[in-house]
Structures are given as C-alpha cells and as structure tokens.
C-alpha cells in the first residue's frame, strides 16, 4: 500500500461529472499511479432529501460514490518490469464479473492487452473502509472514473518516457498491445519503460481519459477467470491450502437462534480424527482431521437446546402481523375508479452454491483470514473483536466466492471460525453445511404489499404502495452506516434505504410509497435488488392490472405512462424483439416488466407455458440500458441470471417458517430453477452507450420477476397474489 506522505501530486484537480479525482505518482522504482477521490461541493449538495421520491434524485449508488469519495483512499495501478499491469481490485468477485470489467477498463485506457492485466482481489484495507464494500450494483459505477483516470495517467507517462528515450516528440507516439510505438514502427514494451516512466513528473501528452474511440470497452469479452474455472483451478476459500487448517463444522439448533443449554460430547470426542469440540455462541463446533470425521462426530453430539426467540412463530403469524402493520393510504378514493391489490412474498434464502466458509488462523498477536467477503474491513473488525486483537493485527485475504446474491456482506462464518481458532489455538477451515445455510443463513424477508391506484377520464390520478416486511439487516458491508451518514437513517435505516431505492417510473399523479417494519429475531439480509425485488415486482404486476382496468394493452400502457424515453426504449425493444402480441395457444402467454434503478433500466418479456402442473417460462427477452456497457457479455450473463431469479422466486423457490424452524434444507426442497425449468432460449439486447456506466448486477431481477408473474396471470386468467406460486 502506498505511503500517502510519499505521494507527489502531478496534476490539478479535474472535474468529472460530480466527482473529481487527483492522481499521484507513487514513489516507487517502477511506474505506480494512485488516485485519490475528493468530495466536491456538487456531490455533497446532491445528497439532500427530497420530499417526494428521493430515489429519483439520489439513490444508494450516489451515497456509495459520495462515501467512497469522502474517504481518503487510494486505488493503485502498477506496471511491472515483466510487462504486467497490476490493479488490485477493491471489490469481491462472486460471479458478477467485476474483475473482467475492471481489467477491461484498465486495458482500454492504458492500451494494454487484456491478457497482460492482472486483477488480484485486494486484502482488507482499513484506509478504504466501506469504499471496499461490494454491493448495491455500485462497483463499475463508482470505479469507472478513478480507474480510467489512473490508466490514462500511466499511459501518458509511459509515452513520455519513450519519447525521452527515443528523443522524439511524445505527440508523435502511439500505444497499443502493452507497448509504445514510434511512427517508424519502433516499439518499447511498457515493462521496459516502467522504471523511466516512474521518473516522469510532467507527462507530455494528455493524461486525461479519452471520451470516445473505445476499442475494448463495449466489446463482448469472455471472463478473465474462465480458463481457471473450466479446468478446476479456480480457488474458493475451502480450496486454499493453508498449512494445518483443520476442517470444522458447527452443530446448530433445530430452531433459529435457540441457545445451547448443555451438551455431551463424550461420544463425539472419542471418534476418529476429532481434534476439538468447542462451544461457540451459534452452537457446538467440531474440529477434525477431515470434514467427513467432523460431520460424523457432529452427528454424535448430544445437545440440549434452549428456547428459540421465534419459537412458535410461523409464516401465517408473520403474514398476519405484516398485514396489520401496513401503513394507511394517504388519499381518499374520492369519485374516481380504482384498482386495489395485495401481494405477499415468502422468505427466500440466498442459497449461493458455495456454502458459508472461512479459513482463519488466530495467533496470540495476529490473525489471518481467507474468505469470500463483500465487506473485507467488516470481516477484519469482526474477527479482531472475536479474537481480542487490534483490527490492524488482522489480515484478511479476499478469495473468490461461489455466488453471493447479497449473502457475503455478512461476516458470520469468519467470526465463527475465529472463535474456534482462538479457542483451540489452531488454524481452522470452517464450513457451514447446506442445511446450515438454508436454515440458519440469511433470508430475503417475508413481505406484504397493499397497492391502490385511482383513475378517471383516461388518467391515473394517484398511486399508493404500502409495504411491510421483517426488517432487512443492513449491518453488512457498512450499508447501514452509509445510509445514516447520508442523512437517511430516520426513522430507521430500513426506511432510509427504501426511500433511496424505490421510485415509481410512471406518471401516475400523486404517488406515495411507504414501508413499515415488523421485527422478528430472524437472520435476514440484503438479497439481490433488496426491496425492489418485491416492491417493484408488485408495482409492475399492478401496472398490468391498472392497464387492464383502463382497457389498455400492457405494453402500450407503459409506453404512454412511463416518465422517460430511456425507459420507453427498453420496453419497446423487448416488445419488438419478443414479438409482443403474437398469437399464442390457450394456457400460454407473454408478459412484460420494467425496472429502473442504479442509474440503469431494463425491460423483460417472457413467454410462459402453464398447461402442465409445473409452469415453465419457455423464452426470455431482455433489454438492458446501463448508460455505458463495459462488457456486454457480462451484462448478458447478469440479465440471464436475474431472469432465473425472477422465474425461481415467482414460481417455485421460497422458504417456509414452521414454528421457528425453516423447513427447506437443500435444493431438494428449495426449488431454485434447474435446466428443466429454465427457458429454452434467452436473448439479451444491450442498449447503446449514452453516458457513464450505471449498475447492472441487480437491475433485471424485478423486471424479470414481474414479467413472469404477468405472463402467468395472462396465461391462466388469474391474479397472482402470493409468491412463489407453487409453495
């Protein structure tokens, strides 16, 4: 990490949009450039609550960008003598493709071959703090400008170094393929120039990132980690070889949060390979030489559990409480006609393929952690606390993750591993079982929604949406603190995030949206697209119902009532490409949905076949407008994955709470989509670049979920109200 006192500012502040960036030459033998982000007045003034629909003016991504800028942090780009370009990624790679997208931005602005760019995941850095968190679809959105500023500055210095070496004007030189080229065809690799470039203080060509002429950004590009994945070389936390790390599993209560009253480990301790049995706050940990031994010994434990704080609480109780807590509508219906609808969404586990896991080695004066985390500094603080160490004594290595969908902003697995490691004085590799993950992991909370629209003479006069849910735990990744710092923490962080994320994209007259929270001692979490996955899905189903009541076609209605051309464009695109309105057999139908958030927007059209007991989405068409697509192939992947989330959560996948215990234990009963319930074809259309990158990872979930529900409604002639439908 560069020493801030040894930095030499080499260019003045530069305004880009609302943010400005200072680049620094780091005192190093080879070219190393750092960007410090500075908060401008313009950004500060943008974060002002608006009395109505603040998400129209400022959203969570803006909060994260401001927070990133407010921290004095440094992102560093290095060019090594062996001609490698190295950018330590201050984010998690959990499948969303961020390493590929960021490597492309570096390669583009440096004119380096993509294959020459290394993008290791950065260890936890306290100086970055929450700016190192991954979430809210903010990674490309917040890092685009700083990274390209860095890369363009590095390129300018390399060109200048070559000009000095060859004694020619810098302006006569060009760059491509990780090298500087003279008009005569002479070339020098960046690696050969890096030592000289490190001495260049004043670049003699523009150090500013280009605005046009992109050769890589915007080109469909395969993932940089794909070769490792298809050969089995990609390492996840439990694949990392840490000498002496002992397999560990934890026996957990049948019901959520029930404490250990007493336990008898006599039989377990006597079993082969067992090293230790340790009580931790979440249960009884068993450490052995192999996971097989640990699992068998866990089964031999005799544990008496206390009463769960949610003992006796089932779905029906929570649904009733959520319904009772719904805030009243603000407006009387007056003389207009109206449409009313209520919706319920079940709990949904994140269920990433890789279960909760961490490798932790707690020693007397220091600790080392290997974990897939979207909150490295959160893990660092939490493990320090568990181990009784200073935060600075904890090293957190961020490892690629096997999916997240919001799960990996929380630090529970590494904290458990630290508790065990500290207790037994040995490094441990701790794994949650699939049952652990399903029943004691985190959930998208159950929610209830009441919506009312009034209309008269062809206009929608008012639109009101009231949502109630079990509170989302916003402690992961510093999200809650960021919301508080931005002034949205009242009355709760949850309502603040709701204000920052929920906006109605339609001209529906007077619009009011409100959230009520009903606390239960359950483990919830930010699930891909957070409130929007339910709230905007409900809203898009409502839009279809309003259209029907007013005698409109759902697509025509959206095109008429949407506020912006950009949103009309994605609806139009899927309607055209998906052949909206084509004649279909009874029991089959099309449906559409739209979502706008993260500075982006997406439309989705699906076709569904409801003629068998298991309805199947047979076709998906999505149009995605993210302002500036960096990697269309990655965007397509995110859109397709989001479609599967929409299909799964609307049709099949949810979690039942039975008297304090979650019922589903694995993918055998948590019915996430499989090949036989996935569409046979899925087309994704990436809309042309119009500006700066918006968010992409969560964008399509509400559009897809709504399209599936709307298609189901049209195919069956029903009004779907409770999701998942097959539950």
């Amino acid at each position: 990490m560069p020493d801030a006192t040894r930095l030499t500012p080499v260019d003045g502040p530069r305004s880009v949009g609302r943010r400005r960036f200072l680049t620094y030459l780091v005192a190093a033998p080879t070219l190393t450039v750092a960007a410090r982000l500075a908060l401008t007045d313009a950004t500060a003034s943008a974060i002002v609550p608006s009395p109505d629909q603040p998400a129209d003016l400022v959203d969570f991504g803006d909060v994260m960008a401001a927070l990133t800028a407010a921290n004095t942090n440094l992102f560093v780009l290095e060019v090594t003598e062996d001609n490698r370009v190295r950018f330590e990624v201050p984010r998690a790679e959990v499948g969303q493709g961020v390493t590929t997208a960021l490597a492309m931005i570096v390669a583009e602005h440096l004119d380096a071959r993509l294959a020459d760019v290394d993008v290791p995941l950065s260890d936890a850095r306290q100086d970055l703090g929450t700016a190192q968190s991954t979430g809210g679809s903010t990674s490309v959105r917040t890092l685009w400008e700083p990274i390209r500023t860095l890369a363009a500055m590095a390129r300018a210095r390399l060109v200048t170094a070559a000009a000095h070496r060859w004694n020619v004007p810098a302006s006569s030189l060009t760059t491509h393929d990780t090298a500087v080229w003279s008009p005569a065809g002479q070339s020098a690799s960046y690696g050969s120039l890096t030592a000289e470039a490190a001495q260049i203080l004043v670049p003699e060509v523009s150090p500013l990132p280009k605005q046009t002429g992109f050769w890589l950004v915007g080109q469909p590009t395969g993932r940089v980690d794909a070769p490792d994945i298809v050969t089995g070389k990609a390492k996840y936390a439990l694949d990392v070889s840490v000498a002496g790390a002992l397999p560990t599993v934890v026996a957990r209560a049948p019901k959520v949060g029930a404490p250990v009253v007493s336990y008898d480990a006599t039989a377990a301790r006597a079993m082969p390979g067992v090293v230790a049995v340790t009580q931790v706050p979440s249960g009884i940990a068993v450490t052995a030489q192999t996971f097989d031994q640990a699992l068998k010994a866990k089964a031999a434990l005799v544990v008496t559990w206390g009463t769960s704080p949610v003992d006796g609480v089932s779905d029906v109780d929570i649904k009733a409480a959520l319904t009772a807590a719904i805030p009243p509508f603000a407006l009387p219906p007056l003389l207009s006609q109206r449409v009313d609808a209520t919706f319920d969404f079940a709990f949904v586990n994140h269920a990433p393929m890789e279960v909760g896991s961490a490798v932790v080695d707690v020693r007397a004066t220091a600790a080392e952690v290997w974990v897939a985390t979207k909150s490295p500094t959160g893990v660092q603080s939490a493990v320090a606390s568990a181990a009784g160490l200073d935060t600075s004594a904890v090293t957190v290595h961020v490892v690629r993750g096997g999916g997240s969908f919001g799960r990996r902003v929380y630090s529970d697995p590494p904290v458990e591993a630290a508790q065990v490691s500290k207790a037994i004085g040995r490094p441990v590799k701790l794994m949650w079982t699939r049952n652990d993950d399903m029943r004691h992991g985190r959930m998208r909370p159950r929610s209830h929604h009441q919506l009312r629209a009034t209309y008269l003479l062809g206009n929608v006069l008012s639109y009101e949406h009231r949502m109630s849910c079990v509170p989302v735990d916003f402690t992961g990744g510093g999200v809650g603190q960021a919301i508080v710092d931005a002034g949205y923490g009242s009355p709760t962080v949850g309502t603040g995030f709701f204000q920052l994320s929920e906006a109605c994209p339609y001209n529906f007259g007077v619009v009011t949206e409100d959230l009520a929270e009903v606390p239960y001692a359950l483990n919830t979490g930010t699930w891909r697209s957070v409130y929007s996955a339910q709230a905007r899905t409900a809203e898009e189903i409502m839009v279809d119902e309003i259209a029907r009541a007013m005698g409109w076609d759902p697509v025509s209605f959206r095109l008429m009532f949407l506020k912006t051309d950009a949103e009309r464009a994605v609806v139009n695109k899927v309607a055209t490409e998906g052949n909206w309105g084509r004649l279909m057999a009874p029991g089959t139908a099309q449906g559409v949905g739209l979502h706008q958030e993260y500075g982006s927007r997406a439309g989705c059209l699906v076709e569904i076949d409801c003629r068998t007991s298991t309805p199947r989405v047979t076709k998906g068409v999505l149009a995605v407008d993210v302002g500036r697509p960096v990697n269309p192939k990655g965007l397509e992947a995110q859109a397709m994955g989001s479609l599967m989330d929409g299909i799964s959560t609307i049709l099949y996948a949810g979690n039942h709470l039975d008297s304090g215990a979650f019922r589903e234990g694995s993918y055998a009963d948590f019915l996430y989509a499989r090949q036989a319930t996935a569409p046979l074809t899925c087309q994704v259309f990436v809309m042309p670049a119009t500006g700066e990158p918006g968010g992409a990872g969560e964008l399509c979930v509400p559009a897809a979920a709504a399209a599936v529900a709307n298609a189901y409604a049209r195919a069956t002639g029903t009004k779907p109200r409770s999701f998942p439908l097959n539950f």
């Binding site: 994945i229 999916g403 499989r674």
Partner: protein, 151 residues
C-alpha cells in the same frame, strides 16, 4: 484403517480411509484435489459431479470402498494435457461460468452425457439436474450443443 487403491486422473493412488468415507472428502481432504465441490453432501446439487469408470457420479454420496480398482476422473483430469476437452472449450466459447462453483460438476455431467449421446435434444439436456444458482442454464444448453457439434 483399510487402504483403497484406485486410478485418479490417470494415476494410481492409494489412501487409508474408512470404508464409508465419501469420495468427495477423500479427494479434497486427503489428496488435495479441490475441483469437485461440496454443495449439499446429499447428491442433490451435483457440484461434486465427477466420473467413475466414465460415468457421471455424485461423489459426495459414493463411498471410497466402492471405487477401489476403478477409474476416477475429476475436472482436473478432463483435459488431455494442455488441450481442453471439447466441453471445456465450449464452456469458454459460450462464456458459461459466472461464480464458477457449480461448473466443474456441470462440465463433467455434460461430458458424460456426450459420451453416450452425440446429439442431445433439449429434452435430453432438460434431464440434467445440476443446480446453477447464478442461473447460467441458457449458456450451458448452448455450450452442450456447441460441444456436441464439435465432437
């Protein structure tokens, strides 16, 4: 503890292990072969799918005693040296993977299918029940068809 010998990715290996130890943990905890993943431990998610005598198997539910003398191939042994198996190449060409955790199992399942079915239909592909939580199913389908065409 009994000793079991089997062929792993073309090489004979011997391990001391209890007879009922699942092959997944033998590979991961005793032999350091980490390509096959734990996803559920009960043969449902199929992230551990590997080949036993050329056939796809969920090795989290296969006892080591049952593979004695047999050929076990994991994702690490699918390529021939530096030449990728056509299924692996198709996975690259279609850019299938997202998080990648299930993909060793998906690839091994597809490779086993294509051994006996050179031109799988959509209905054949629908019978694959390996879970991909990132939802890469459409690309998996295209990649299987691409690999079939290239073989």
């Amino acid at each position: 503890m009994p000793t079991y010998t089997f062929n792993l990715n073309g090489k004979a290996v011997s391990v001391d292990a209890p007879a009922d130890m699942p092959l997944l943990w033998v590979l991961r905890d005793k032999l350091g072969v980490t390509g096959p993943k734990y996803g559920c431990g009960v043969g449902v998610c199929r992230a551990c799918t590997s080949h036993i005598n050329g056939q796809a198997a969920q090795i989290c539910t296969v006892a080591v005693s049952d593979v004695a003398g047999k050929n076990v191939t994991t994702i690490e042994g699918l390529a021939k040296g530096s030449t990728l198996h056509p299924v692996q190449q198709a996975w690259l060409d279609e850019d299938v993977a997202q998080c990648g955790f299930c993909q060793p199992g998906q690839i091994m399942q597809a490779a086993a299918l294509l051994k006996t079915n050179h031109s799988p239909t959509d209905a054949d592909i629908d019978k694959i029940v390996n879970v991909c939580r990132c939802g890469t199913y459409c690309r998996i389908r295209k990649a299987i068809k691409r690999a079939a065409a290239s073989m």
